[in-house]
């Protein structure tokens, strides 16, 4: 009974919130926007080093967001692997014996790798980019893992951590390089924007894939007890 | 004042005040005992050796101290010093070793208070010494430590505290009205203050506790008997007079006539003198009888005080009269109290002599001719002539005096009667003999040598005593007759 009442209250509240939200969206949609950002953007696009505006925003105009976003991703990865006691890689149960999957693996993996490369390259002038490419790459890794391909680098070792951090590291170095020269943090040296963006995109693709993959494999299997502070150990 | 006088004044007060310090270190019991009679000696020298009228300023003391001595104070100082000396001598012989030091400490403190209040002219030190005497006196009262003594002490203390507070309030009011910290400024200010009656009431009641005013006297018959005998003597002889002195220096005598207060005091005095006698004759113990006698005698003084309050023009001689009476009564009562602890010699001759000597101060109280009592009684009678006075009670005064005389005599007989029953027999130590003897001598003889208060009618000479002997004697005879009748009746009844 109480549950029903609570359900009703919650539902009504959510509905009301939705309605209010919709109402304000309706109201906002009717108001003219005081700043025309797209126009400003297109005016500055040629200075950004890439043709595609979204990529330009992501990796030049608002590259700080992206830098931190990669940071978030790395954090998630770190937090994930901090919990993984990956003795499970050799767990035979994980290894599939499904023939279909096996076939898929053989056919798809190369294809997906190519696709990832293409997405990365396309990012410069049409939808695509590091994240999309990284996601496909990670999916490839998942497929391989499900197929039982041993990926030694996924053990929480230096290699894995290096892989996690690589994209971020390169991005950061580029960001600070210009600052050392007296420019703003994250500013690209004139004329080098394009090439730097490509480099960053490439390593980011790797790292993004690494993070996602690492998170996928760091699901816990065994338990290790760590006495909490204060409780008698 | 010479430097010597200043030293003497300070010594008179500070010697007994500092004497208790000897108790801090152990081993001085004996010295303390023998020092007892020496303590009041500087004060005695001060009273006898310096002319009244000196003043000593002590500006750093309390609210600004001023000590001095006038005629009245000299008389009281004299009485106090003599009595304490005699009692001190007696005490040397009387005291047991038990809690000796404690007794000596309180003795010294009480003495210091008693002497100090006599010479104090500023309010604060007067009140300080008064309080010192009161509270230290408790130590003397409860010294024996018996249940009875403790009970007496409790009553004493409770009433003393109430009295102190009444005095404090009265002095505060008076001091504020006078805007002065000096006692001599008070009477005039009180006389004119709007809260005159309140102040007078408070002061009369406050000092009345010490002086044994009716209804404020309860502690007195309890405390005096239980104290060690020398202490009883000073309690009844000297300390009780401190209350009187308090009245004399604070109340507006001579400033304005207060017939209402005068009448009230006369009634109080009458009740005290007669009522105390009525109660006193029923007592079984000599010291209790003596205590009631003290109340009764104080009642007579209160009669005079009432007259003085009511008649400002005759206040001065009346004050002198009271002082004289106080001196007489103090010495006589001191002697009587001491005699209660003197063992009667076994030899028949000595025994008779002894009884006579014990009886004489008593008879002096009753106004037997040729005693100090007769002198003061005659003065009193003369001062209280109804012709001199103008207030409602004036006409009754002679009658009251006579009744008081009868009452006094009755009490003396009663005292002798119960003393005979209670007296111990045997030898006494030399100091006891000496103390008692000197007391009796002072009462009977030395009195005449002492300086008399000024402003009195001429002291009656021998001829006056002879002329008025009937007047002096008949109350005593009447009382004796009454006592004989009662005795006879009792013996018949017993048979």
């Amino acid at each position: 009974m109480i549950r029903v009442v609570r359900l009703l209250i919650l539902a009504v509240a959510c509905l009301a919130l939705t309605a209010a939200l919709a109402a304000s969206i309706w109201a906002i949609a009717g108001n003219p926007s005081p700043v025309n950002l797209p126009q400003l953007l297109s005016e500055n696009l040629d200075r950004s080093g890439v043709e595609h505006p979204v990529t330009a925003v992501l990796l030049n105009f608002r590259s700080y967001d992206t830098l931190l976003e990669i940071g978030v991703l790395v954090i998630a990865g770190i937090a994930g692997i901090s919990m993984a006691k990956t003795a499970s890689l050799e767990d035979p149960e994980l290894r599939t014996s499904d023939a279909l999957l096996y076939a898929l693996q053989r056919w798809f993996i190369p294809l997906m790798l190519v696709l990832a490369g293409y997405l990365l390259w396309a990012g410069a002038d049409r939808p695509g980019g590091a994240f999309q490419a990284g996601a496909v790459l990670a999916a490839t890794g998942v497929l391989m893992r499900l197929g039982g391909v041993p990926m030694e680098f996924l053990r929480p070792g230096l290699l894995l951590r290096l892989g996690l951090a690589l994209g971020f590291m390169v991005f950061l170095l580029v960001a600070v390089a210009s600052a050392i020269g007296g420019d703003a943090f994250l500013a690209y040296p004139p004329g080098m924007a394009k090439i730097l963006i490509v480099v960053i995109e490439s390593v980011l693709t790797l790292s993004i894939a690494m993070v996602l993959l690492a998170l996928f494999v760091s699901a816990p299997v065994n338990d290790a007890e760590d006495p909490e502070e204060g409780s008698p150990s | 004042m010479t430097a010597f006088d200043v030293v003497l004044v300070l010594l008179a007060v500070c010697l007994p005040l500092l004497y208790p310090a000897m108790a801090v270190a152990a081993g001085y019991e004996k010295a303390m005992r023998y020092a007892l009679p020496l303590l009041p000696l500087p004060a005695l020298m001060l009273a006898l050796g310096t002319a009244p009228g000196w003043q000593l300023e002590l500006p750093w003391l309390l609210n600004g101290g001023l000590w001095g001595m006038d005629e009245l104070r000299r008389l009281f100082l004299l009485l106090t010093a003599i009595l304490w000396t005699l009692a001190g001598v007696f005490a040397v012989g009387y005291l047991k070793a038990h809690h000796l030091q404690r007794f000596c400490v309180f003795w010294g403190l009480t003495l210091a208070g008693n002497l100090g209040l006599t010479v104090a002219v500023d309010i604060a030190s007067f009140y300080s010494f008064f309080a010192l005497m009161t509270f230290a006196g408790y130590g003397l009262v409860v010294h024996e430590g018996t249940a009875e003594a403790n009970r007496a002490g409790r009553v004493y203390l409770a009433m003393a505290v109430v009295g102190e507070m009444a005095i404090l309030a009265g002095l505060l009011l008076a001091s504020a009205a006078a805007d002065s910290q000096m006692l001599p400024d008070l009477p005039a200010a009180i006389a004119e203050a709007p809260q005159r009656d309140l102040m007078i009431g408070l002061l009369i009641a406050g000092f009345g506790v010490k002086a044994g005013l009716p209804l404020l006297h309860f502690w007195l018959p309890l405390a005096h008997p239980v104290a060690p005998t020398p202490a009883s003597a000073v309690l009844s002889g000297a300390m009780i007079k401190a209350g009187l002195l308090g009245w004399l220096v604070t109340l507006p005598f001579g400033e304005t006539s207060l017939p209402m207060w005068g009448a009230l005091m006369v009634v109080a005095g009458a009740v005290a003198s007669l009522g105390a006698a009525a109660l006193g004759v029923c007592q079984q113990r000599p010291k209790t009888v003596l205590a009631y006698s003290s109340i009764s005698q104080m009642g007579l003084m209160v009669l005079m005080m009432g007259a003085a309050l009511a008649n400002s023009d005759v206040a001065q001689p009346l004050i002198a009269g009271m002082a004289l009476f106080a001196l007489h009564h103090g010495l006589a009562k001191g002697s009587l109290f001491l005699s209660t602890a003197v063992a009667i010699p076994l030899a028949p001759g000595g025994r008779w002599l002894m009884w006579v000597l014990i009886a004489l101060p008593g008879l002096s109280l009753a106004g037997l001719p040729f005693t100090s009592g007769a002198a003061s009684k005659l003065v009193m009678k003369e001062l209280l002539e109804p012709d001199n006075l103008e207030f409602a009670m004036a006409a009754y005064l002679p009658m009251l005096i006579s009744a008081g005389g009868i009452a006094t005599m009755l009490l003396v007989w009663r005292f002798l009667w119960v003393q005979r029953a209670n007296a111990s027999y045997g030898g006494n130590s030399a100091m006891i003999w000496l103390g008692w003897g000197m007391a009796t001598v002072s009462s009977l003889g030395v009195f005449w040598l002492l300086p008399q208060p000024g402003g009195l009618p001429p002291t009656p000479g021998l001829d006056a005593m002879v002329n008025q002997s009937w007047g002096l004697l008949w109350p005593a005879l009447a009382a004796t007759l009454l006592a004989s009748v009662v005795l006879a009746a009792r013996s018949i009844k017993q048979r």
Binding site: N44, F61, L172, A179, D183, G230 | -
Partner: protein, 489 residues
Amino acid sequence: MTLWLMAGLLFTPLAWAVLTLLTDFSRGRLVSWVGILVQALVSLGLWLAVNRDGGFYYGLGGWDAPLGIELRVDGLAVTFVLLTAVVAGACGLHAGVYIDPDKPWHRYFWPLFWFLWSGLNAVWLGGDLFNLYVGLELISLSAVGLVALGGQAGALRASLRYLLAALLGSLAYLLGVALMYGQFGTLSIAGVATWLSDHPVPAGSGMALALMIAGLALKTALFPLHRWLPPAHGIAKSPVSALLSALVVKASFYIAARLWLELGQPLGSLAAAQLIGLLGSAAVVWGSWLACRQQRLKQVVAYSSVAQIGYLFLLFPLTFSVSETVSLQAQQGMTLQVISHALAKAAMFLAAGNLILSVGSNRIDALGGVSRFLPFSLFSFGLAGVSLMSLPPTGGFAAKWLLLQASLGSGQWWWVLVLLAGGLLSAAYVFRIYRASFLESSGTDQFFHPSRSLEVIPMILAILALGMGLVSDQVLSVMALPFAGEGAP
């Protein structure tokens, strides 16, 4: 020079995050200590620079708002940056000794720690609505990672709860950002504020502010959205708890406060302001009450955070439609409260950690007789408690004083009652712990003295919290006109 300082400020934590990721705990500790030193120096330098030259806008990547992301480097921001350097630095130093280096998963502490720090800096300096969102997520996820570190069931439960709350809060905030962008076409707070200052308020934008503040309130654990906080703060390792309570919750509050101060007057309403104040008051009372009823030391401290955060939200009613003076007082009070609570709470958690280490239990009862050994940590705990009770001369007191003045000055006397009652209630739980430590009867004589370096750090923080009240005028003068920026684009 200033530009280098800015670059250093942004770069150092991120770089050290990467560096420490590549080492194990012990080596990471050394590396981190160097980093802490660098970061502290940079923060101090920046603070001095702003102190001398005044605040400025810093366009990242060379792009100004609204196209790019601008950082707002003003007195308040750099003060908080410096505060972060002090508190996080202290926690880092403490953690280096406190945390067991032999557990392999503890190596991940350092990268998370540094990411957290960078997120905090991003939030203090951020002037872009969306960038703040990313900064918040950086903080939330690293905080969750730190809480969950080691991955025991209890910690996981707490961190999951924390994570879900944080995510929900972030989404609410993001939704508000979406509306804001839809309305104003820009993400720069200063831009929006400037536009609003000479235009009428467009319909519907109040919802945006409400959503953002609601989301941030959830992340700040404002009553009644506080339930996630005590478990998370209570169960984490003490240095982590210290970081979380001292700084992390402040980040979301800081954004809310800045939004309110810039946009609250046009977009907010009296009712909303009062409601938030009311919730803050409820937090003060309820949080303190619950703190009084906890049996575990760190839970007490955690619930105390809920209560102390409540004070901060009094900023909302006290800056809405009031005179300039009152508003300034309220802002100064809020700032001081943030600073002193950060210092005091960090000191408290670190000291609590030491005490737990000393007596081998986290129950309050176990503290019986501890004061006999006169451990530094108890003293630090006590001093920090004084600040929490807002007794003079601590910073907490100065903050409360200013808030009191603001309440009285604005005629909103009802907050006075909250402030006073809050002080008393906090005394109740602080004294409960003192009391336990003075109890002699239990007679436990087993007492482990933690190393001096562990004890000194909370002491320093506590003394800073204590001294904050004495120098509060100087501190506040650095951020004179806290939120006034010139040359807003």
